[in-house]
Amino acid sequence: MRMVAEPVERLIDELSRLPGVGPKTAARLAFWLLKSSDERANALADAIREVKQRVKHCSQCYNYTESDPCAICSSPSRDRSVVCVVEEPLDIRAIERTHEYKGLYHVLLGHLSPLDNMTPDKLKLRELESRIKQGGIKEVIIATDATSEGNSTAFFISRMLEPYDVKVTRLAHGLPVGGDLEYADEVTISRALQGRQVM
Protein backbone atom coordinates (compact mmCIF):
# COMPACT_ATOMS: atom_id res chain seq x y z
CA MET A 1 0.00 0.00 0.00
CA ARG A 2 1.25 3.48 -0.90
CA MET A 3 2.06 5.68 2.16
CA VAL A 4 1.54 8.95 0.25
CA ALA A 5 0.07 9.88 -3.13
CA GLU A 6 2.26 9.06 -6.12
CA PRO A 7 2.92 12.72 -7.16
CA VAL A 8 4.08 13.53 -3.61
CA GLU A 9 6.38 10.53 -3.63
CA ARG A 10 7.80 11.69 -6.96
CA LEU A 11 8.38 15.20 -5.58
CA ILE A 12 10.17 13.78 -2.50
CA ASP A 13 12.30 11.63 -4.77
CA GLU A 14 13.23 14.59 -7.00
CA LEU A 15 13.98 16.90 -4.05
CA SER A 16 16.19 14.30 -2.36
CA ARG A 17 18.45 14.40 -5.43
CA LEU A 18 19.42 17.99 -4.55
CA PRO A 19 22.87 18.40 -2.96
CA GLY A 20 22.75 18.36 0.84
CA VAL A 21 19.09 17.24 0.92
CA GLY A 22 18.40 13.87 2.50
CA PRO A 23 15.11 11.92 2.34
CA LYS A 24 13.75 13.48 5.58
CA THR A 25 14.43 17.06 4.48
CA ALA A 26 12.99 16.23 1.05
CA ALA A 27 9.77 14.96 2.65
CA ARG A 28 9.53 18.09 4.84
CA LEU A 29 10.01 20.36 1.79
CA ALA A 30 7.47 18.41 -0.26
CA PHE A 31 4.80 18.69 2.44
CA TRP A 32 5.58 22.39 2.88
CA LEU A 33 5.07 22.92 -0.85
CA LEU A 34 1.83 20.94 -0.68
CA LYS A 35 0.52 23.22 2.07
CA SER A 36 1.72 26.47 0.45
CA SER A 37 -0.39 28.55 -1.94
CA ASP A 38 -0.62 27.72 -5.65
CA GLU A 39 1.13 31.01 -6.50
CA ARG A 40 4.17 30.16 -4.38
CA ALA A 41 4.51 26.65 -5.73
CA ASN A 42 4.08 27.87 -9.32
CA ALA A 43 6.62 30.66 -8.79
CA LEU A 44 9.18 28.06 -7.71
CA ALA A 45 8.38 25.80 -10.66
CA ASP A 46 8.59 28.78 -13.06
CA ALA A 47 11.90 29.92 -11.59
CA ILE A 48 13.40 26.46 -12.08
CA ARG A 49 12.07 26.21 -15.64
CA GLU A 50 13.28 29.72 -16.49
CA VAL A 51 16.77 29.21 -15.12
CA LYS A 52 17.15 26.09 -17.25
CA GLN A 53 15.78 27.76 -20.38
CA ARG A 54 17.46 31.15 -20.20
CA VAL A 55 20.77 30.66 -18.43
CA LYS A 56 23.73 29.23 -20.33
CA HIS A 57 27.52 29.34 -20.20
CA CYS A 58 29.30 32.43 -21.54
CA SER A 59 31.20 31.40 -24.66
CA GLN A 60 34.30 33.28 -23.45
CA CYS A 61 34.62 32.73 -19.71
CA TYR A 62 32.11 29.86 -19.10
CA ASN A 63 30.37 31.75 -16.30
CA TYR A 64 26.58 31.38 -16.18
CA THR A 65 24.87 34.13 -18.13
CA GLU A 66 21.61 35.15 -19.75
CA SER A 67 23.31 37.02 -22.61
CA ASP A 68 26.41 35.85 -24.44
CA PRO A 69 29.07 37.19 -23.82
CA CYS A 70 28.32 37.72 -20.13
CA ALA A 71 28.13 41.10 -18.39
CA ILE A 72 31.76 40.86 -17.16
CA CYS A 73 33.23 39.83 -20.52
CA SER A 74 31.35 42.57 -22.39
CA SER A 75 31.94 45.33 -19.84
CA PRO A 76 34.23 48.12 -21.21
CA SER A 77 35.38 48.99 -17.68
CA ARG A 78 37.06 45.63 -17.00
CA ASP A 79 40.83 45.20 -17.45
CA ARG A 80 41.12 42.82 -20.43
CA SER A 81 44.82 42.10 -19.82
CA VAL A 82 44.19 40.06 -16.64
CA VAL A 83 42.30 36.77 -16.42
CA CYS A 84 41.45 35.12 -13.12
CA VAL A 85 41.01 31.33 -13.40
CA VAL A 86 38.45 29.83 -11.01
CA GLU A 87 37.01 26.35 -10.57
CA GLU A 88 33.28 27.15 -10.44
CA PRO A 89 30.95 30.09 -11.32
CA LEU A 90 30.25 30.45 -7.57
CA ASP A 91 33.91 31.41 -7.05
CA ILE A 92 33.34 34.50 -9.25
CA ARG A 93 30.65 35.67 -6.79
CA ALA A 94 33.12 35.27 -3.91
CA ILE A 95 35.81 37.32 -5.69
CA GLU A 96 33.38 39.98 -6.96
CA ARG A 97 32.15 40.55 -3.39
CA THR A 98 35.62 41.88 -2.51
CA HIS A 99 35.38 44.72 -5.13
CA GLU A 100 39.18 44.36 -5.43
CA TYR A 101 39.42 42.69 -8.81
CA LYS A 102 38.66 44.45 -12.10
CA GLY A 103 39.88 41.93 -14.67
CA LEU A 104 38.16 39.09 -16.56
CA TYR A 105 37.51 35.49 -15.48
CA HIS A 106 37.82 31.99 -16.85
CA VAL A 107 35.75 29.22 -15.25
CA LEU A 108 37.20 25.71 -15.53
CA LEU A 109 33.94 24.03 -14.45
CA GLY A 110 35.76 21.73 -12.03
CA HIS A 111 39.22 20.78 -10.85
CA LEU A 112 41.67 18.02 -11.72
CA SER A 113 40.97 14.94 -9.64
CA PRO A 114 42.12 11.87 -11.51
CA LEU A 115 40.75 9.59 -8.76
CA ASP A 116 37.27 10.90 -9.49
CA ASN A 117 37.86 10.72 -13.23
CA MET A 118 38.19 14.52 -13.55
CA THR A 119 40.93 14.59 -16.17
CA PRO A 120 42.19 17.65 -18.16
CA ASP A 121 39.86 16.99 -21.11
CA LYS A 122 36.81 17.40 -18.81
CA LEU A 123 37.79 20.97 -17.85
CA LYS A 124 37.83 24.18 -19.90
CA LEU A 125 41.65 24.12 -20.07
CA ARG A 126 42.12 24.09 -23.84
CA GLU A 127 39.64 26.96 -24.05
CA LEU A 128 41.85 28.92 -21.62
CA GLU A 129 44.90 28.18 -23.78
CA SER A 130 43.02 29.43 -26.86
CA ARG A 131 42.21 32.71 -25.07
CA ILE A 132 45.90 33.18 -24.24
CA LYS A 133 46.89 32.34 -27.83
CA GLN A 134 44.63 35.09 -29.12
CA GLY A 135 46.91 37.58 -27.33
CA GLY A 136 46.23 40.68 -25.24
CA ILE A 137 46.39 38.85 -21.90
CA LYS A 138 49.41 39.78 -19.78
CA GLU A 139 48.60 38.02 -16.50
CA VAL A 140 46.74 34.86 -15.51
CA ILE A 141 45.79 34.70 -11.83
CA ILE A 142 45.14 31.12 -10.73
CA ALA A 143 42.44 31.22 -8.07
CA THR A 144 41.78 27.48 -7.66
CA ASP A 145 41.00 26.13 -4.18
CA ALA A 146 43.90 25.75 -1.71
CA THR A 147 43.43 21.96 -1.73
CA SER A 148 45.44 19.16 -3.33
CA GLU A 149 43.01 19.11 -6.24
CA GLY A 150 43.29 22.90 -6.61
CA ASN A 151 47.09 22.66 -6.45
CA SER A 152 47.19 19.93 -9.14
CA THR A 153 45.01 22.10 -11.36
CA ALA A 154 47.23 25.14 -10.73
CA PHE A 155 50.41 23.18 -11.57
CA PHE A 156 48.82 21.86 -14.71
CA ILE A 157 47.79 25.35 -15.86
CA SER A 158 51.20 26.87 -15.11
CA ARG A 159 52.90 24.11 -17.11
CA MET A 160 50.39 24.43 -19.94
CA LEU A 161 51.06 28.18 -20.17
CA GLU A 162 54.87 27.91 -19.98
CA PRO A 163 55.34 28.40 -23.76
CA TYR A 164 53.37 31.67 -23.75
CA ASP A 165 54.57 35.15 -22.87
CA VAL A 166 52.17 35.59 -19.96
CA LYS A 167 52.74 36.13 -16.24
CA VAL A 168 51.15 33.31 -14.21
CA THR A 169 50.38 34.07 -10.54
CA ARG A 170 48.53 32.22 -7.78
CA LEU A 171 46.41 33.56 -4.93
CA ALA A 172 48.35 33.74 -1.63
CA HIS A 173 47.94 30.97 0.95
CA GLY A 174 48.00 31.45 4.70
CA LEU A 175 46.02 31.89 7.88
CA PRO A 176 42.30 32.59 7.44
CA VAL A 177 40.80 35.69 9.05
CA GLY A 178 39.32 34.52 12.34
CA GLY A 179 41.42 31.34 12.41
CA ASP A 180 43.41 30.12 15.43
CA LEU A 181 47.16 29.76 14.85
CA GLU A 182 47.38 26.81 17.26
CA TYR A 183 45.00 24.73 15.13
CA ALA A 184 46.62 25.56 11.79
CA ASP A 185 48.46 22.74 10.05
CA GLU A 186 52.16 23.02 9.23
CA VAL A 187 51.66 23.56 5.47
CA THR A 188 49.37 26.55 6.14
CA ILE A 189 51.80 28.04 8.69
CA SER A 190 54.84 27.54 6.43
CA ARG A 191 52.96 29.18 3.50
CA ALA A 192 51.92 32.03 5.82
CA LEU A 193 55.56 32.51 6.85
CA GLN A 194 56.73 32.49 3.22
CA GLY A 195 54.12 35.09 2.29
CA ARG A 196 54.59 37.36 5.33
CA GLN A 197 54.24 41.11 4.77
CA VAL A 198 56.13 44.11 6.14
CA MET A 199 53.94 46.11 8.56
Binding site: L115, N117, S152, G179, V187
Partner: protein, 258 residues
Protein backbone atom coordinates in the same frame (compact mmCIF):
# COMPACT_ATOMS: atom_id res chain seq x y z
CA UNK B 1 32.34 -4.64 22.11
CA UNK B 2 33.83 -2.22 19.59
CA UNK B 3 34.94 1.08 21.14
CA UNK B 4 32.70 4.03 20.17
CA UNK B 5 35.65 6.32 19.50
CA UNK B 6 38.90 5.16 17.96
CA UNK B 7 42.26 6.74 17.12
CA UNK B 8 44.34 5.79 14.15
CA UNK B 9 47.06 7.09 11.86
CA UNK B 10 45.53 7.70 8.42
CA UNK B 11 46.27 9.06 4.96
CA UNK B 12 43.44 10.62 2.95
CA UNK B 13 43.30 9.06 -0.51
CA UNK B 14 40.33 10.90 -1.95
CA UNK B 15 37.53 13.28 -0.97
CA UNK B 16 33.94 13.81 -2.08
CA UNK B 17 31.54 16.61 -1.19
CA UNK B 18 29.18 15.79 1.65
CA UNK B 19 26.33 18.14 2.49
CA UNK B 20 26.80 21.89 2.61
CA UNK B 21 30.27 22.16 4.16
CA UNK B 22 31.41 18.58 4.79
CA UNK B 23 33.49 16.05 2.92
CA UNK B 24 33.37 12.29 2.69
CA UNK B 25 36.93 11.04 2.93
CA UNK B 26 38.36 7.76 1.71
CA UNK B 27 41.23 7.12 4.13
CA UNK B 28 43.78 4.33 4.46
CA UNK B 29 44.72 3.15 7.95
CA UNK B 30 46.98 0.41 9.35
CA UNK B 31 44.38 -1.20 11.67
CA UNK B 32 41.19 -0.90 9.63
CA UNK B 33 42.44 -0.76 6.04
CA UNK B 34 40.51 1.53 3.70
CA UNK B 35 37.59 3.40 5.29
CA UNK B 36 34.95 5.93 4.24
CA UNK B 37 34.49 8.60 6.90
CA UNK B 38 32.79 11.98 7.21
CA UNK B 39 34.55 15.22 8.11
CA UNK B 40 32.06 17.97 8.95
CA UNK B 41 32.61 21.65 8.18
CA UNK B 42 35.94 21.18 6.38
CA UNK B 43 34.92 23.40 3.47
CA UNK B 44 34.76 26.42 5.80
CA UNK B 45 37.88 28.63 5.66
CA UNK B 46 38.18 28.58 9.46
CA UNK B 47 37.83 24.79 9.82
CA UNK B 48 40.28 23.39 12.36
CA UNK B 49 40.26 19.99 10.69
CA UNK B 50 40.61 20.93 6.99
CA UNK B 51 44.38 21.47 6.84
CA UNK B 52 45.01 18.18 8.62
CA UNK B 53 42.81 16.18 6.26
CA UNK B 54 44.33 17.09 2.91
CA UNK B 55 44.93 14.16 0.56
CA UNK B 56 48.39 12.56 0.85
CA UNK B 57 49.19 13.89 4.34
CA UNK B 58 49.78 11.44 7.21
CA UNK B 59 47.63 12.46 10.20
CA UNK B 60 46.48 11.06 13.51
CA UNK B 61 42.71 11.06 13.45
CA UNK B 62 40.07 10.43 16.09
CA UNK B 63 36.76 9.14 14.74
CA UNK B 64 33.39 8.35 16.28
CA UNK B 65 31.56 5.32 14.98
CA UNK B 66 28.31 6.09 13.20
CA UNK B 67 25.42 3.97 11.95
CA UNK B 68 26.66 4.12 8.35
CA UNK B 69 29.81 6.21 8.22
CA UNK B 70 32.18 7.17 11.03
CA UNK B 71 32.79 10.87 11.71
CA UNK B 72 36.20 12.45 12.22
CA UNK B 73 36.25 14.53 15.40
CA UNK B 74 39.96 15.40 15.62
CA UNK B 75 42.93 15.37 13.23
CA UNK B 76 46.55 16.30 13.64
CA UNK B 77 49.20 16.16 10.90
CA UNK B 78 52.15 13.86 11.63
CA UNK B 79 53.98 14.10 8.28
CA UNK B 80 52.71 16.62 5.76
CA UNK B 81 54.87 15.42 2.80
CA UNK B 82 55.03 19.05 1.80
CA UNK B 83 57.23 18.53 -1.29
CA UNK B 84 55.07 15.69 -2.54
CA UNK B 85 52.10 18.02 -2.32
CA UNK B 86 53.68 21.18 -3.68
CA UNK B 87 55.99 20.10 -6.53
CA UNK B 88 54.06 19.07 -9.65
CA UNK B 89 56.11 16.00 -10.58
CA UNK B 90 56.09 14.60 -7.05
CA UNK B 91 52.41 15.45 -6.59
CA UNK B 92 51.28 13.63 -9.73
CA UNK B 93 53.32 10.54 -8.81
CA UNK B 94 51.91 10.61 -5.25
CA UNK B 95 48.40 10.89 -6.71
CA UNK B 96 49.05 7.84 -8.87
CA UNK B 97 50.20 5.89 -5.78
CA UNK B 98 47.00 6.93 -3.92
CA UNK B 99 44.80 6.07 -6.89
CA UNK B 100 46.36 2.62 -7.21
CA UNK B 101 45.86 1.91 -3.50
CA UNK B 102 42.27 3.15 -3.65
CA UNK B 103 41.34 1.15 -6.71
CA UNK B 104 43.13 -2.09 -5.84
CA UNK B 105 41.91 -2.46 -2.25
CA UNK B 106 38.49 -3.01 -0.70
CA UNK B 107 37.12 -1.33 2.45
CA UNK B 108 37.84 -2.73 5.93
CA UNK B 109 40.53 -5.17 4.80
CA UNK B 110 43.55 -4.18 6.92
CA UNK B 111 47.01 -4.97 5.57
CA UNK B 112 49.85 -3.61 7.76
CA UNK B 113 52.45 -4.53 5.10
CA UNK B 114 50.64 -2.42 2.53
CA UNK B 115 50.29 0.43 5.02
CA UNK B 116 54.07 0.50 5.64
CA UNK B 117 54.78 0.22 1.92
CA UNK B 118 52.37 3.10 1.20
CA UNK B 119 53.82 5.45 3.83
CA UNK B 120 57.41 4.55 2.81
CA UNK B 121 56.50 5.30 -0.82
CA UNK B 122 55.05 8.70 0.12
CA UNK B 123 58.31 9.45 1.99
CA UNK B 124 60.35 8.41 -1.07
CA UNK B 125 58.24 10.47 -3.46
CA UNK B 126 58.48 13.40 -1.03
CA UNK B 127 62.21 13.35 -0.42
CA UNK B 128 63.85 11.00 -2.92
CA UNK B 129 65.33 11.98 -6.25
CA UNK B 130 63.61 9.30 -8.33
CA UNK B 131 59.82 9.51 -8.14
CA UNK B 132 59.38 7.06 -11.02
CA UNK B 133 61.34 4.33 -9.22
CA UNK B 134 59.45 4.80 -5.94
CA UNK B 135 56.12 4.67 -7.79
CA UNK B 136 56.93 1.59 -9.87
CA UNK B 137 58.26 -0.28 -6.80
CA UNK B 138 54.98 0.48 -4.98
CA UNK B 139 52.95 -0.51 -8.04
CA UNK B 140 54.65 -3.93 -8.35
CA UNK B 141 54.43 -4.65 -4.61
CA UNK B 142 50.78 -3.56 -4.46
CA UNK B 143 49.88 -5.89 -7.33
CA UNK B 144 51.65 -8.69 -5.47
CA UNK B 145 50.00 -7.89 -2.08
CA UNK B 146 46.56 -7.73 -3.61
CA UNK B 147 46.95 -11.05 -5.38
CA UNK B 148 47.54 -9.73 -8.89
CA UNK B 149 51.32 -10.21 -9.14
CA UNK B 150 52.21 -10.53 -12.84
CA UNK B 151 53.68 -13.97 -13.61
CA UNK B 152 57.18 -13.27 -14.91
CA UNK B 153 59.06 -16.58 -14.42
CA UNK B 154 57.47 -18.89 -16.99
CA UNK B 155 54.74 -18.74 -19.64
CA UNK B 156 51.55 -18.03 -17.70
CA UNK B 157 49.55 -20.17 -20.15
CA UNK B 158 51.59 -23.36 -20.69
CA UNK B 159 54.25 -23.05 -17.99
CA UNK B 160 57.13 -23.55 -20.42
CA UNK B 161 60.47 -21.81 -19.95
CA UNK B 162 60.73 -18.41 -21.64
CA UNK B 163 63.12 -17.47 -24.44
CA UNK B 164 64.50 -13.93 -23.89
CA UNK B 165 64.24 -13.05 -27.59
CA UNK B 166 60.52 -13.71 -27.87
CA UNK B 167 58.79 -12.48 -24.73
CA UNK B 168 55.20 -11.25 -24.78
CA UNK B 169 53.12 -9.73 -22.01
CA UNK B 170 49.44 -10.64 -21.86
CA UNK B 171 47.48 -8.09 -19.74
CA UNK B 172 44.40 -10.35 -19.57
CA UNK B 173 46.47 -13.51 -19.07
CA UNK B 174 48.26 -11.72 -16.19
CA UNK B 175 51.87 -12.37 -17.14
CA UNK B 176 54.44 -13.36 -19.73
CA UNK B 177 53.52 -15.55 -22.67
CA UNK B 178 55.73 -17.65 -24.91
CA UNK B 179 55.76 -17.33 -28.72
CA UNK B 180 53.11 -20.01 -29.25
CA UNK B 181 50.76 -18.93 -26.42
CA UNK B 182 50.71 -15.23 -27.26
CA UNK B 183 47.63 -15.72 -29.43
CA UNK B 184 45.66 -16.70 -26.30
CA UNK B 185 45.61 -13.04 -25.24
CA UNK B 186 44.47 -10.66 -27.98
CA UNK B 187 46.04 -7.71 -26.17
CA UNK B 188 49.49 -9.36 -25.84
CA UNK B 189 52.47 -7.24 -26.87
CA UNK B 190 56.25 -7.83 -27.06
CA UNK B 191 58.30 -6.95 -24.00
CA UNK B 192 62.08 -6.56 -23.65
CA UNK B 193 64.14 -8.89 -21.41
CA UNK B 194 65.48 -5.84 -19.54
CA UNK B 195 61.97 -4.67 -18.62
CA UNK B 196 61.26 -8.15 -17.24
CA UNK B 197 64.54 -8.11 -15.26
CA UNK B 198 63.70 -4.73 -13.67
CA UNK B 199 60.19 -5.87 -12.74
CA UNK B 200 61.46 -9.16 -11.28
CA UNK B 201 63.94 -7.16 -9.19
CA UNK B 202 61.14 -4.86 -8.01
CA UNK B 203 59.11 -7.85 -6.85
CA UNK B 204 62.01 -9.68 -5.18
CA UNK B 205 64.52 -7.18 -3.85
CA UNK B 206 64.38 -4.59 -1.07
CA UNK B 207 63.98 -1.00 -2.29
CA UNK B 208 67.62 -0.07 -1.64
CA UNK B 209 68.83 -2.76 -4.06
CA UNK B 210 66.10 -2.02 -6.59
CA UNK B 211 67.21 1.60 -6.41
CA UNK B 212 70.72 0.72 -7.62
CA UNK B 213 69.59 -0.77 -10.95
CA UNK B 214 70.14 1.53 -13.91
CA UNK B 215 66.94 2.06 -15.88
CA UNK B 216 67.05 4.03 -19.13
CA UNK B 217 64.24 6.47 -20.05
CA UNK B 218 63.05 4.06 -22.81
CA UNK B 219 62.87 1.21 -20.31
CA UNK B 220 60.95 3.41 -17.86
CA UNK B 221 58.47 4.16 -20.62
CA UNK B 222 58.10 0.48 -21.47
CA UNK B 223 57.60 -0.64 -17.84
CA UNK B 224 55.15 2.21 -17.20
CA UNK B 225 53.04 1.24 -20.23
CA UNK B 226 53.14 -2.45 -19.28
CA UNK B 227 51.96 -1.78 -15.72
CA UNK B 228 49.25 0.54 -17.00
CA UNK B 229 47.87 -1.97 -19.48
CA UNK B 230 48.04 -4.72 -16.86
CA UNK B 231 46.16 -2.58 -14.29
CA UNK B 232 43.67 -1.35 -16.91
CA UNK B 233 42.87 -4.95 -17.73
CA UNK B 234 42.35 -5.74 -14.01
CA UNK B 235 40.21 -2.72 -13.18
CA UNK B 236 38.56 -2.33 -16.57
CA UNK B 237 39.08 1.45 -16.28
CA UNK B 238 41.94 3.75 -17.21
CA UNK B 239 44.03 5.22 -14.37
CA UNK B 240 43.29 8.95 -14.28
CA UNK B 241 46.61 9.94 -12.66
CA UNK B 242 48.64 7.97 -15.19
CA UNK B 243 46.88 9.93 -17.95
CA UNK B 244 47.82 13.13 -16.16
CA UNK B 245 51.48 12.07 -15.99
CA UNK B 246 51.30 11.27 -19.70
CA UNK B 247 50.16 14.80 -20.43
CA UNK B 248 53.16 16.04 -18.46
CA UNK B 249 55.50 13.85 -20.51
CA UNK B 250 55.97 11.11 -17.89
CA UNK B 251 58.50 9.66 -17.27
CA UNK B 252 60.81 12.23 -18.83
CA UNK B 253 60.88 14.28 -15.62
CA UNK B 254 63.88 15.92 -13.98
CA UNK B 255 63.78 13.32 -11.21
CA UNK B 256 63.70 10.27 -13.41
CA UNK B 257 66.86 10.48 -15.51
CA UNK B 258 69.19 7.64 -14.64
Amino acid sequence: MQERIYKTPAVVLRRLDFGETGKQLIIYTPRYGKLSVIAKGVKRATSKLAGHLEPLALSHVVAARGRNLDTITQADTVESFIRARSEPDRLFHALLVAELLDKLTVERDPNPVLWLLFVDTLRRVDSGDDTWRATVYFWLRLLSESGYQPALDACVQCGSALVPRSLYFGPTAGGLLCQSCRVSDLGAFPVSPNAVKVMRAGLAQPYEEFGRIRVSPELRQEIGSLLRSSTRSLLEVELGSAGLLDELRWPASAHSAS
